[in-house]
Amino acid sequence: MDTMPSPATGSGAGQLPGPLSRQLSGAPAEPLTDDQLRELYSLMVAVRHLDTSAIAWQRQGLIPGYAPELGQEAAQVGSGYAVDTTRDFVFPTYREMGVARAMGVDMVAYMSTHKATWHGGLYNPLESRLAPIQAVVGGSVLHAVGWAHGQTLSGIAGTNTDGTAGVAMTYFGDGASSQGDVHEAMNFAAVMRAPVVFFVQNNGWAISVPTERQVAGGSVAARAAGYGMPALQIDGNDVVAVVEATRRAFAHARAGNGPVLIEAMTYRRGPHSTSDDPGRYRSLNDERDDAGEDPVERFRKRLLADGVADESFFAEALAAAKTEEEHIRAGIQALGPRPGMEMFDLVFQETTPALQAQAASWREESEHV
């Protein structure tokens, strides 16, 4: 287990027992500037505010469902912040709103998936550098490996030694780590030395199943050694630790050293989704005991203690978050359903006569215009 060199390393870092078979290469990145620290805080507050608002939207009937990321703001904002959107590519699950926000994705287009406007969301993945929202647990982990190997192949030809080759980062959970695809992805990536960062948010739960009945051995990071791949198990509630670990992992992968796994230890403070009832499988006491300190509040205290930000800055950040949320809510409210013809038009690049015939009969029988 590699320990984090950053002074910002939280209590969760360096826990994993046993030596790594291969160490992460490269020096620690530059420390974050005060401006960056404040930016991170603003992002976390924006994400927290949008996240809690989205639950309210669902209660109010504006959206049919939502998967909150309450408690995972540090893990998501910190890792998303480390992405270089000019060259890297990110593969999310269904819970990475904070990553999308940190990457600068259009949030109306992102949140539209929760309005059930379009599976995958309305944002352009190529421009956003964020693959469509993925509902299959573990479904996109292999895509990251393929995309990353594509970078290697482009590099092989000799034109990408200029460092423009990107790194793929794939997100998945403690539950997803049980899927066969995740193993295949790690093995492929390590065999091919593909530039991939496997970013695991171990939030303690897969719906109702706690990590100890999910992850044999107790740690996803501990799996990496078996593939000869370096891993970092970090305090996922310490946003600075997350940024620094992610940057190191990116640097390692970008330099051609192959994949890295980061296990960010965090806690799903909310329900699995708006249709879940956590009271059936964990008590409020459990939640209080296991969740640890709120990552947003913790970062706020630290900025205050370090003199990086003051109350007026925090108030501004919150006000900005509110304005942003209102804007996004308005966008979501204004979103109408997609035209039915998109069902047919977006199946293929080259449509087929059978599909055209079905579209024609749909128009005739069902189009309510």
């Binding site: 309005k115 539950g175 109702s208 059936r280 069902m343 029988e365």
Partner: protein
């Protein structure tokens, strides 16, 4: 197998056999069926993702872990191939596993174990290792869920030698078909229409109940849900209720629609199809799955084979389109709606040779 489990199972059979009629939702009916099956057969095991403490995301296994313990009813890690592969091994050890995959779309990771292992082990082992696995799959669309939560896999399953496939259309069917499926020595894919989980209906408990099947025996074969003379609507799962609605509307126009609940999607009750369509001479088959290579083609062809001389029109198929299952309001455009089914009826009624 140890008979200690047998005894502990017997101890659980704390309720007398039910009689009469009760109003239950399909969720309640399925839960009750599982409860009774667990009580009656100590070799049965119920498991899957979130099936234990949570009672399943649809609460179908609600309360069962508390009642039968974590040995008989348990959560697994999040891996569908693992769940089905483990089921095969448990069956080889003499158990009757009743696994769940959480949603239709998450059966795909388990297809290899289902098709290459569970469906074939009886054959491969020359009958020495049967696979009494009852796989529950919350199925079909209509609940505005995320991607992969509204799929219809019946055509895939029905094509696989070694599998049997069944889908209940209401609480009564759900209770009886699940109890029946979970006592068979062969693998059964049990497709639950998730959009009907919360609909209530009368469940008749008398085991001699003739509603269980046309002949009063076990609930095998198809079932006439409404008799009619002009056209037969064939459906399964959630589409049965919709077809009954359509039949009611058509009756207002003097069109007398017979509705056949296919129930068993493998083996298909070809005799019931023939009997109905020989009478009505017109048929419309309705399903949510995409048109091409859907089970509607098989149903239509079975009808055409047996009723070629009497059919007044080619069998109509009203189905989902050949498009990935869509999100939100587009569901209503995709799933066969009342209008589309009525158009289909109209086409078979108005068909003129020439």
């Amino acid at each position: 197998m140890s008979n200690a489990i047998l005894e502990s199972g017997a101890a659980m059979a704390d309720r007398a056999p039910r009689h009469g009629v009760e109003e239950l939702s399909m969720q309640q009916a399925l839960n009750l069926a599982l409860d009774e099956v667990l009580a009656e057969n100590p070799k049965t095991l119920v498991f899957g993702e979130d099936c234990g403490r949570l009672g399943g995301v649809f609460r179908i296994t609600d309360g069962l872990q508390a009642k039968y313990g974590t040995g008989r009813v348990f959560d697994t890690p999040l891996a569908e191939s693992g769940i089905l592969g483990m089921s095969a091994g448990l069956a080889m050890a003499g158990f009757h596993p009743i696994p769940e995959v959480q949603f239709d779309g998450f059966a795909y990771p388990a297809i290899n174990q289902i098709v290459c292992q569970i469906a074939r082990m009886n054959y491969r082992s020359r009958g020495t290792m049967p696979m009494p696995v009852t796989l529950r799959v919350p199925s079909f669309g209509g609940i505005r869920a995320p991607e992969h939560h509204g799929e219809s896999l019946e055509a895939l399953f029905a094509h696989v030698p070694g599998l049997k496939v069944v889908s209940p259309s209401n609480p009564h069917e759900a209770y009886h078909l699940l109890k029946y499926a979970a006592t068979r020595p062969d693998p059964v894919i049990f497709m639950e229409p998730k959009s009907r989980y919360w609909q209530k209906g009368e469940v008749t408990f008398d085991s001699a109940d003739p509603a269980g099947s046309a002949a009063g025996g076990p609930p095998t074969g198809a079932k006439v849900m409404r008799e009619g003379r002009h056209v037969t609507l064939i459906a399964w799962g959630a589409m049965v209720a919709r077809c009954l609605q359509v039949a009611g509307l058509a009756a207002e126009d003097g069109i007398d629609v017979e509705v056949l609940d296919l129930r068993w999607l493998k083996p298909i009750d070809a005799a019931a199809l023939a009997a109905s369509v020989r009478k009505t001479r017109r048929a419309v088959v309705v399903h949510e799955a995409p048109l091409t290579s859907g089970l509607g083609a098989e149903v239509a062809q079975l009808i055409t084979q047996s009723c070629f001389d009497t059919l007044k029109a080619p069998v109509e198929r009203i189905t989902g389109f050949d498009v990935p299952y869509p999100s939100g309001d587009l569901e209503d455009e995709y799933i066969p709606n009342i209008d589309r089914i009525l158009f289909g009826i109209q086409r078979v009624l108005e068909y003129r040779r020439g």
